[in-house]
């Protein structure tokens, strides 16, 4: 009797559990396009009595609060839609957060992803190619969101750029004269400026040791300067995978590494180069402990709490002493965050609401204002007339307008920043020489070919 009862309990528990799993899973099957069709038929004309609740997974932690405000503003304009913003936790990759939400049958209606992760969710994402904003987007920002079968699944949310960030007031105070960032044209100019600043007792540069900064931002400059078009850079990476590139004799790589040595030499933290954090860098550039910092425009949201004026901007990470070389006038710019709309687990009404939100960001004045003025995002849409107020975003925009941009290597393999960032840290700490780094990079890329 006892045994039978026990068996019975187990059977029951399993049945309940399995049925719970399968009901979650059935909505999950790829190719479920019924919802999509219904969404297009439904239209927004007949607003339901109850507000539609949609969620957005935000992976830009620095604008979480602003995003909540934006959701509120959006709700005021569209009382029939309630948008709640879910943050990805510190140290949590958006990929992981979205994966677990999808597998829990709890997919957010809209998810913000890093560029390299967008296409991995092709089965879950709604095709957005017929949206109006597609025509107003800067064409190159859509490339990373196009699937092999001709769908467009991502909304380019943010354009970002990075380079050597300067604090002009600090430099001018140290030099005792006005200073024009455009006067810097080569690595030698930069070295001369560093030396002058040092002589006046002003620490020249902070080189922060975070693996993502060194591995995902600094090192990839050496890939981006290999060619002016995406195809050239892609061909270089393909050759690297095949083991056909000798980095030790590569001009772009050596140029960047010479600059790295220079930055190391004048680094504020050179006695203990691995001890810094991102927050330390924000404070250092903001209140002038360092005149330069290698970082991108996203940092303004934190820097503005320290800065007393807006004399901030970028100069390129120079790679040689010839001002004409590709990379000496350019800073890195790219679309770094995309929004995808879930089609597998969301109802047609929810998908419709999500599309309304995207349109609101691009075409509604209040939406544009939230995106550009409040969040300080450089928009990927040419119809948006508003310009960000923050000086770093304005600096990136001016490089964009002149066409002086390097490709932001946003579609590198997922563990590139982690693996090669660690090698760059060794280099920064003096535990690895350039030859060793070149070998590590070559080995990493050969591994990718497998």
């Amino acid at each position: 009797m006892r045994k039978r009862a026990r068996v019975w309990i187990w059977v029951f528990a399993l049945v309940v559990t399995l049925s719970a799993c399968s009901s979650g899973g059935s909505g999950n099957t790829p190719g479920n396009t019924a919802g999509e069709d219904a969404a297009q038929k439904g239209g927004a004309s007949d607003a339901p009595a109850q507000a539609i609740k949609i969620t957005l997974l935000n992976s830009k932690g620095e604008i979480q609060e602003l995003f909540e405000t934006a959701a509120q503003t959006f709700h005021e304009a569209h009382p029939d839609i309630e948008l709640s913003v879910v943050p990805a936790a510190i140290g949590q990759s958006p990929y992981e957060k979205l994966t677990s939400m999808i597998n829990a049958g709890n997919a957010p209606t809209i998810a913000m992803l890093d560029t390299s992760d967008v296409l991995k969710f092709a089965d879950q994402a709604l095709d957005l190619r017929n949206e109006q904003w597609v025509n107003d987007a800067l064409p190159w920002t859509l490339d990373a969101a196009k699937t092999g079968d001709g769908r467009l699944i991502g909304f380019p949310f943010a354009v970002e750029g990075y380079g050597l960030m300067y604090n002009r007031a600090v430099i001018e105070k140290a030099l005792g004269a006005s200073w024009d960032p455009a006067a810097l044209a080569t690595r030698a100019d930069l070295a001369a400026l560093f030396e002058k600043l040092k002589a006046k007792g002003q620490a020249p540069i902070l080189l922060s040791p975070m693996d993502w900064s060194l591995g995902a931002h600094f090192l990839p400059i050496s890939y981006a300067v290999q060619g002016k078009t995406h195809e050239d850079v892609g061909a270089f990476l393909a050759a690297l995978k095949k083991g056909e590139v000798d980095l030790a004799s590569n001009a772009g790589f050596n140029g960047l590494m010479d600059t790295f040595e220079l930055l190391k030499q004048y680094n504020v933290n050179q006695d203990d180069p691995l001890s810094g954090t991102y927050d330390e860098g924000v404070a250092a550039i903001g209140d002038g402990q360092a005149a330069f910092w290698f970082m991108g425009n996203w940092a303004w949201q934190q820097i503005k709490d320290f800065a007393t004026d807006d004399g901030f901007g970028f100069v390129p990470v120079f790679i040689s002493d010839n001002p004409e070389d590709y990379g000496n006038r350019e800073i890195t710019v790219g679309a770094t965050k995309y929004l995808i709309v879930d089609r597998a687990q969301s109802t047609p009404e929810e998908q419709e609401a999500a599309r309304a939100f995207l349109n609101w960001l691009v075409y509604d004045e209040a939406g544009q204002n939230m995106l550009v003025k409040e969040m300080g995002i450089i928009p990927a849409f040419s119809n948006i007339e508003q310009k960000p107020d923050d000086p770093l975003a304005r600096s990136v925009l001016s490089y964009m307008n002149e066409g002086h941009t390097l490709q932001f290597m946003t579609t590198l393999p997922a563990d590139h920043w982690n693996v090669l960032g660690a090698e760059m840290q060794k280099m920064l700490a003096g535990k690895l020489d350039r030859k060793g780094l070149a070998q590590a990079i070559e080995a990493y890329w050969r591994e990718q070919a497998k």
Binding site: S93, S275, N418
Partner: protein, 298 residues
Amino acid sequence: MMAGRRRRRRVFRDRLTEVLFAFPALWAFATVILVPFGYGIYLTFTDWDGVGARGSFVGWQNFVRAFYDGRFWHSMTLTLAYVAVSTVLLNVIAFGLAYALTRGVPGERVLRAGFFAPNLLGGIVLGFVWQFIFLRVLVHLGESFDVAWLMKSWLSSPTSAFWALVVVTVWQYAGYMMVIYIGGLMNIPGELFEAAAVDGAGPWTRLVRIVLPLVTPATVISIFLSLQRSFMVYDVNLALTGGGPYRSTELISMYVYRKAFVEQQYASGQAQAFILFAVASIIALVQVYVGKRREIEA
């Protein structure tokens, strides 16, 4: 015959009642632990990447790959060293605190509460607080008092970052283990000490011959908990060192997490997690088995 049937019926009713009472817990256990565990094992034999279709069956390939993954074993060795060092330090310090705080020192209760307090903080918060201490406070002290080994941050070299992790772990859990030891110490009957004193046993003999054997149950529990917590540590690792400098302090949980979600090889990471589970359970079972036998002898 009749009586037998009636008894059987009563036994059945009792069993049914038991089962009904146990059902909610069993159900929760099954859905939250057993089913995911079984499903997890199934995933180790696929090449699923975490999204989309469930991947195809690849047999033992993920395990084979884990055995040839040098970094995995580096993390495993590092974790074993970390577990060994922190388990020993934790229990020595926790026992020392408990022993000192059960002798009627004035302010004993306040001190106990103080030592226990770190355990109430979450690992992430604690990691960031200690990161600040290691990066700023200690370096500042080192510079002010000209102490060479404090002038560089502990977090910027692999060896000292490892010890930083140990220090924080010990600080976090020593108070918790102390409470368990205090419980054990309070249960030792006072007359044993009187009898020992009459027989001429000094403080050291009393400690080694009476106290230590009689707190063995507490020791077994404390060591078990220390093993379990230090094996599975992730939050302190993430917030304090983030695996750095240059991935030298990636403990095994962090390595497995990154395998699954950063390198996006979910099934591979799952296989490594299963190996971790096997190693940790073997060690824990051996420890409890050995500990329990000693308990009986005492």
